[in-house]
């Protein structure tokens, strides 16, 4: 793998600016807007909150929660200004995407109002969906045909509005390049973690990638690892140009190895690579023939539970 392949995504969240991905057309309300009018405004525009703006300046944010609280209180009608959140987390339009990602992570908010740094005026709103949308656009990844399974993913995917969306990452691995072994797995791991993918899923994908990477380095002239991150699963595809595996069944057996001694001296080549990949996979297929290339496909379903939920489930079991 070369330096330029090192996780495009990672670089992009530093390169892209908030203003390049934000939604510019923002529905706002005035401080004097009556609370009773709010419901229609939110409903008609299908939004769950709106920045409160006075003469171009952000003075607060009013959300559907504020509205519900107002209803529940049975309070008399009042201007939005009386019920809005005044201490609003914002971001400037010239900040990097990574800043927005960090702020989402820290605050737990789904959206951030964007201010022009010089004038202080509200110029847009940025959501997690905007960020992913911006990244996808830059990556020119393909939106695949709908195959909606109702599977709900966590974090970053929950704000994407599309029938099906996925993110495709590609890593190139050079044969015999032992010094860089694991760089693809490491880059993938960092990226998945930043995307908010469950740690268990992330680890399985990283281990499978690492073992596959090692196989490419030890046995082939090099190859390509393509990782498709979709809401319901991570799909790995590893392809190389040869020499191929003469006896797949045997190669899959734990402990069977044709690795040279220098690989063994480095702690690998014990014949556990493919077996380990299988342990990480929900589905795995391996196509190969001697003299030809090898194509490995691995599917890892997204863990939907949080760590805490899984742990308590294990305790009960």
């Amino acid at each position: 793998m070369t330096g330029e392949d090192v996780t495009k995504i990672q670089e992009m969240i530093y390169e892209l600016l908030v203003r390049e991905v934000m939604t510019k057309k923002v529905i706002t309300v005035m401080p004097s807007t009556p609370m009773r009018d709010l419901r229609e405004i939110l409903r008609l525009n299908r939004i769950s909150g709106a920045p409160v703006v006075e003469e171009g300046r952000l003075v607060g944010v009013i959300s559907i929660e504020d509205f519900i609280r107002w209803l529940a209180d049975g309070s008399p009608d009042c201007p939005v200004a009386d019920r809005m959140t005044k201490d609003v987390k914002t971001i400037h339009d010239d900040e990097q995407l990574v800043q927005a990602v960090n702020r989402f992570e820290r605050s737990g908010f789904g959206r951030l109002p964007v201010l022009d740094r010089s004038t202080g005026y509200l110029v847009g709103v940025v959501t997690k969906g905007d960020i992913i949308g911006g990244l996808l656009k830059r990556l020119e990844v393909d939106y695949r045909e709908a195959e909606t399974r109702g599977a709900r993913s966590r974090h970053i995917f929950q704000d994407i509005v599309a029938d099906q969306s996925s993110l495709v990452l590609e890593y190139r691995v050079r044969g015999a390049d032992f010094a860089r072994a694991g760089a693809s797995a490491s880059g993938l791991k960092t990226t998945l973690r930043r995307l908010g993918i469950h740690s268990q899923t992330t680890r399985r994908a990283a281990i499978a990638t690492y073992e596959a990477e090692m196989n490419l380095i030890v046995f082939t002239e090099g190859g390509r690892i393509t990782v498709q991150v979709a809401p319901e699963m991570i799909r790995l595809e590893v392809e190389d140009g040869g020499p191929g595996i003469p006896d797949i069944e045997r190669a899959m057996q734990p402990g069977f190895s044709t690795a040279p001694d220098w690989v063994r001296e480095l702690g690998f080549g014990a014949g556990m690579g493919l077996a380990n990949i299988r342990n990480c996979a929900d589905r795995m297929s391996l196509d190969s023939a001697a003299g030809k290339g090898t194509r490995l496909q691995v599917e890892i379903l997204m863990e939907q539970q949080s760590d805490a939920e899984r742990d308590s489930a294990e305790t009960r079991a």
Binding site: F178, A179, A181, G182, A185, S186, K189, S199, Q200, R203, R204, A206, I207, A208, Y210, E211, L266, G267, F268, A270, M272, G273, N276, N279, C280, D307, A308, D311
Partner: protein, 127 residues
């Protein structure tokens, strides 16, 4: 068990100084894996997460494995210092490294008797 305590039990020394970061030597070690076979500690279940990797290997792949399997730290036994590439990678990834003068057997024995458990028996949230 805290990493600093592990260091003391093993009479080990930090490679490149005490670990930096908010937790420093206070980061938790919940279990231990001792292996010179790296595939054996690439475990998807998360049994290695938060664990200490004890090994006689000194190359950079040991650090890669620690990163990929979410080990807390790596300790090299028999007083063998890690190779420069390993040290560089560990710095990059924020993985603390230790060198212990003990054999693998004695290092394991000391940690086990002091209460460190095998990874698959460790309690608590691995992540």
């Amino acid at each position: 068990m805290k990493l600093e305590e592990v260091r003391r039990i093993l009479d080990a020394e930090w490679v490149g100084g005490r670990p930096k970061g908010p937790e420093g030597g206070d980061r938790a070690v919940r279990s231990c894996h001792a292996s010179d076979l790296m595939s054996d500690v690439l475990i998807p279940s998360g049994a290695c997460a938060g664990s200490l990797l004890l090994t006689g290997l000194t190359n950079a792949q040991v650090v890669r494995v620690a990163e990929i399997s979410d080990f807390t730290a790596v300790c090299f036994v028999r007083g063998k210092p890690p190779q420069p590439e390993a040290v560089k990678l560990a710095e990059e990834k924020g993985i603390p490294l230790l060198v212990a003068p003990l054999s693998m057997f004695e290092a394991c024995g000391r940690l086990y008797t002091q209460g460190l458990v095998p990874g698959d028996r460790a309690k608590g949230d691995a992540d």
